[in-house]
Amino acid sequence: MSNLNVKIGLEVHVQITSLKSKLFCSCSSEYRGKPPNTNVCPTCLGLPGALPVVNIEAVKAALMVALALKCTISDVLVFSRKHYFYPDLVKNYQISQYDGIGSVAIARNGLMTINVDGKTKPIRIRRINIEEDPGKIIYPTGSLLTSKYTLIDYNRSGIPLLEIVSEPDLTNPKEARIFIDKLRSILEHIGLVNPELEGSIRVDANISLEGGSRVEVKNISSSKDVERALTYEIIRQSKALEHGEVIRRETRHWDDLKKVTISARVKELEEDYRYFPDPDLPPFKISKELIEETASKLPELPDQRVERFMKTYGLSEYLANVLVSEKGLADYFEDCVKICGEPESIGNIIVNDLKRWIDELDLSIYEAIRLFPQKDLCQLVDLLNKNVINIKILKEIIPRALKSGKSASTIVYEEGYVDISDEDVLLKIIDEVIRENPKAVGDALTNPKAINYLVGQVMRKSKGRANPELTNKLLIKRLNELSRASSNAN
């Protein structure tokens, strides 16, 4: 893939979910789960004569993100109208921002670094816009193509969005995924985005291959799907190019059920958004004081947190990066460390086991935390330290807890996961093993390394529950007895 000279640029639309009200009206920002068209007012329904008034907190949120992404902030806030007709758009123009005469994006020319395979890579941010979310279109048959009409719910209309646009500095689908995850982590750390809410991040991905044109894949709702969609596009486009086909500039949709991209209807309408400054919203001076005030409220960001994790907890750069890639994961880690210390083993368990299972079971970190809370992990670590369970059992309990929803201790005690540390019980098994493996016993008596085979047999007989250290100790003890007995016999 590397010789295809892939260029990827992303347009990430993020709902600012931390606000109480919409961008230009006082309707609640909590539109999810409400009956259709019950969360609207004259303004967000686009009724004749209704007017927009800017939610100041949305501006502050955008400034916060601009600062976090090291952008140059405009001295004036200007909203522009972007004109296109579509049933989800109540005014048939979207109040957005634009770079042009009399119009300007709130922030431009930023930078975000991503960590790819242990290497740091800078990705330039072109601009950040504040804009309004449209309503939601439902297809009565479930399919855009076969529905004879649409059903529209405007509850979402007017929810504040940030549009964050990168330069085409990404060179493969994996980097695109990492970019989105990092961006999301930054937004989570700032506290603007509740990642538990579905559809709070939507991505348009632009991709071009050497010898082709720019293709835009619209409306992808997760970083994993962005990676999938871009991989699909690279394969599709490179095959087409190989066959001498021309890749035309077009817009495609991501079908997240079939995991393919589909060409959007070739619009006979040309794109001409006729941007002009929205005369309903006079330009607003962004004062130095406002920027300073915002900067002073900027919390610790992922890059700083990674550094702190390495310094304070002695974690490797890799562990720290994985933990901080999701605020929830990093918080989980720190909560656990607060309860039971042991940052290194906690960090390792979270990254190597917990995270693996979260991904495998397709859970969110928040679902995972509900199923396997911090105190449960600490409890297991404690049992591990007390030799009640061993590391192997601990690794098995995590997926069981995530799948069953039972607490870790229930699994440990009620499902017989407890480590066998009872010497009498262990000795019984050990004696059995000794009886059954005379040859191995002979080897072990002469070569101490051969004892591992016997330990393994004990583990097998105990279904992995034997405490390995104790087994080792008791086996050596028994073998010594045997050795003494045999020399006495001689």
Partner: protein, 487 residues
Amino acid sequence: MDGLELVKLFHADPSLIYEYVIETYELIRKVEDSIKSYITLKPLDEVLKECKIVSDKIKDGFKGRLAGLLIAVKDVISTKGLLTTCGSKMLSNYIPPYDATVIERVSAEGGIIIGKTNMDEFAMGSTTENSAFFITRNPWDLSRVPGGSSGGSATAVSAYEATISLGSDTGGSVRLPASYTGTVGVKPTYGLVSRYGLISYGTSLEQVGPIVRDVSDAALILSVLSGHDPRDSTSLKVEAVDYTTFLKPIPLKKYRVAIIKECINEGVDSSVLSSFNKSIYRLENEGFEVSEVSIPIIRYALPTYYIIAMAEASSNLSRYDGIRYGYHVDVENKLWDEAYTESRSYGFGLEVKKRILLGTFVLSAGYYDQYYLKASKVRKLLYDEFSRILSHYDVVITPTAPSLPPRIGEAISDPMKLYLSDIYTATVNLIGLPAMSIPADIVNDLPVGIQLIGPRLSEGSLINIAYIHEVKSGLKNLIPTAVRPYV
């Protein structure tokens, strides 16, 4: 008797409200068929119920500044539960679920909305011939237009079918019909009166403005309408002013008057010019200092105004697609652009379509710089020029319109002729200044108006000057020919 005096009577004896309302409806019955001011007139019994509420409140000590007055409202202003058509087939069934801020303010002061007045469709026109429903006739001469686009609001007040009316002024739509009907019309400083609920045509240009029969009522209603509204981002954060304190027959300061040479040299009817000169003479007699200034760039104001108004209109009128409100076509098996095109092509009248198309054109790729951007630059030049002049003068006076009210059908046939009637009024909207049209003369039984333009937020001074002129000219509460037999 004007509104200010009526309210004093009503405060003293609320039962007089019924008498006043019934008399007004009686007059409406006699003249409305020939004038046709109203698209929607509330039934008398409904209005009488509202009278009862107001009169009961007065008995409880309510001192509403508009208590009991009948207010006619241009059909471009949203009224909750009351049909609001904008003079368009597009909105012929539209019932707003909310009140415009100005309606809330009028109601809070005890004003009673009597009905919704006819207008040029979406306020695009200068004659009220562009209504989708019917034309409105000038009560001074039924063969002539009343001016527009707030024609119905002007005739309702002029013909005593209401005491006060609200119009909207994007390029002269309050002042022009006021001038043509012998009434007083005010276009407030941009941002002084809330636009919330005013159905947009040219957002950056327009204001709700009153039409009344004398300057006192202008002061009264303006005091109620003006003031900050948190629902309108363009609303100025200014303290409420009681403009009736400016109703003094003597100048409250030494006024310096500027006359724009370019506005009296060419294209003005001689009768308009002589009326204008009479008015200036009257003011000079009162000690006003009058000078002539030249603003050569003003000849570009009208094309500039129309470019900007149409650009904004094309954007503001995008929302009409027949889905959430407005002229609806069946959507099943139709793509959105087909359904929308159908709805918009049938719902809008020809003048509206022309303006949307031209507005789309001046904003479109390849033409934006040449038209919309350039016009915005001329707007800046005009802004600077007027700022300069108004730093030396307190008021600029021009004729309101270059000619007497045209005959029905005369102006509408030629767009350039129609647009030219806004020549003196539209500049003011480009720069957001306050202006008012007051009667200056009656020529052959047709009224002629002059326009007073002041610096930002100088409504008080304009009221004072207008009041002095009114006292000296005696031109107030004029009774047009069509009404004379009945009063």
